[in-house]
């Protein structure tokens, strides 16, 4: 089972209108090569799930500026003024989600859970339209799972079976997103032989990974 494909082959798997999860915190941990592939292909009407839209010339920011994003779930858009401008002009449909809730909703999507109860957002606009459930006298919001058509992942070290090790703060949303999409494509910063990553230290088991693309970084 060869999982290694070219960037072009990877881009053949993503289509207009798809829901795409992209990890990264202000671009750190974002698969830049794959994002550049989306930009170059000029895909339209994407529904992007990410924690922030980075900066205009970084990571997911590039998709925003290029007008490829129709719908966005994110926790923070403040570092990319273009996202706010396009939201205000009605060009992007933005839903803001608390960062912890976003991570947990994606995890739930990957773990087969129907949802979870969180205290985050109770008594704020975040609770609008959500079921409130009382447990032990405390209010919680029922938050629902998220899944995507495609997740674009960025591994610091990836072996040829797709086992991934993430360096430092690049892990962020990579691990949960790798579990929650129909097709998972990982950009390997460093591609290594099977066995080079200690099975104890694998952070995303290769069973979650469908395809591997060599990164440029």
């Amino acid at each position: 089972m060869n999982k290694i494909i070219s960037l072009e082959q990877a881009m053949d798997l993503v289509h207009d209108g798809m829901t795409v999860m992209i990890p990264g915190f202000m671009g750190v941990g974002t698969p830049e090569t794959l994002v550049d592939g989306l930009v170059e292909k000029g895909l339209q009407d994407l529904f992007i799930i990410c924690t922030d839209t980075a900066r205009p010339n970084v990571g997911i920011g590039k998709l925003i500026v290029n007008g490829q994003v129709k719908k966005l779930y994110a926790s923070h858009i403040g570092t990319n003024p273009e996202t706010g401008r396009m939201m205000n002009e009605g060009l992007i449909d933005v839903t803001l989600i608390p960062q912890g809730t976003l991570a947990e909703r994606i995890r739930a999507g990957g773990a087969g859970l129907g949802g979870f109860l969180t205290p985050t957002g109770v008594g704020t606009v975040v609770e609008e339209g959500k079921q409130k459930i009382v447990v032990d006298g405390k209010d919680y919001l029922l938050e629902l799972p998220l899944r995507a058509d495609v997740a674009l992942i960025r591994g610091s070290k990836v072996d040829k079976k797709g086992n991934i090790w993430y360096n430092a703060a690049t892990r962020n949303f990579n691990t949960v997103m790798a579990t929650a999409a129909k097709t998972v494509i990982v950009e390997a910063q460093e591609l290594v032989e099977v066995g080079e990553i200690d099975p104890n230290n694998v952070m995303t088991p290769g069973i979650f990974v469908d395809y591997i693309v060599r990164g440029n970084a």
Partner: protein, 217 residues
């Protein structure tokens, strides 16, 4: 008189005890790390995925994989640990962070906080703030007492809330307030102001503590 921001940061830094796990918000709260008293070891949590955050690296030594929650380069200390966003917010929501220090647009006398949006103007998103305010054992606001001369400590917040009744302590350049179920108490007063001046700069009703002290510097 020292710089307002330094005074606030210095005072907040005295709230911690040895071994505390602390999350500092971006902006003024970040300064708090510079004033931790000697002999007190604080473990800083960065919600994008690690504990054991150290100071900014020397120029030229930045590691692109290690940034803080503001996206700026930082270092990690010996004994640090990295994790993903689901784990990071498990730590935050689960009450494993002893204190979080944040800024505020508005706070009110029951401890409601608004610090994530101004409708029609500024909608950066809540990022991790809603989870932090709900989850941290102690919520400390580090804020200037007024904005353009207008009170920020109100009877009731008018902006969309970050969380309800979660703020425990407010530190401004004028004084220190405890928010308790019994009301809001002025616990310390800056050496250069009077209670009367604080009343004028504060919309909220507060009780002057029987044990009112001069604010430590």
């Amino acid at each position: 008189m020292m710089d307002v921001r330094e005074r606030i940061a210095r005072r907040v830094a005295k709230e911690f005890k040895d071994g505390d796990i602390v999350n500092l918000g971006i902006g003024m709260p970040t300064l708090v790390a510079n004033y931790i008293p000697e002999g007190v070891e604080i473990i800083f949590q960065s919600e994008n995925g690690f504990v054991g955050m150290g100071p900014a690296p020397q120029e030229g030594n930045e590691d692109p994989d290690i940034v803080n929650a503001g996206g700026l380069p930082v270092t990690v200390l010996k004994g640090a640990a990295y994790f993903d966003s689901a784990t990071s917010f498990g730590i935050i929501r689960g009450g494993h962070v002893d204190a979080t220090v944040l800024g505020a647009l508005q706070v009110d006398e029951v401890g409601n906080l608004a610090n994530w949006m101004i409708p029609g103007k500024l909608v950066p998103g809540m990022g991790g703030a809603m989870d932090l305010v709900v989850g941290a054992k102690k919520v400390i606001l580090a804020m200037e007492h007024t904005a353009k001369g207008r009170p920020k400590i109100l009877k009731e917040c008018t902006l969309p809330l970050t969380a309800r009744k979660e703020v425990n302590l407010i530190v401004t350049e004028m004084g220190v307030f405890d928010i308790t179920p019994g009301g809001m108490f002025l616990r310390e007063i800056a050496p250069d102001v009077t209670v009367e001046q604080i009343r004028e700069a504060t919309e909220a009703d507060f009780i002057v503590s029987e044990h009112l002290k001069v604010m430590e510097e």
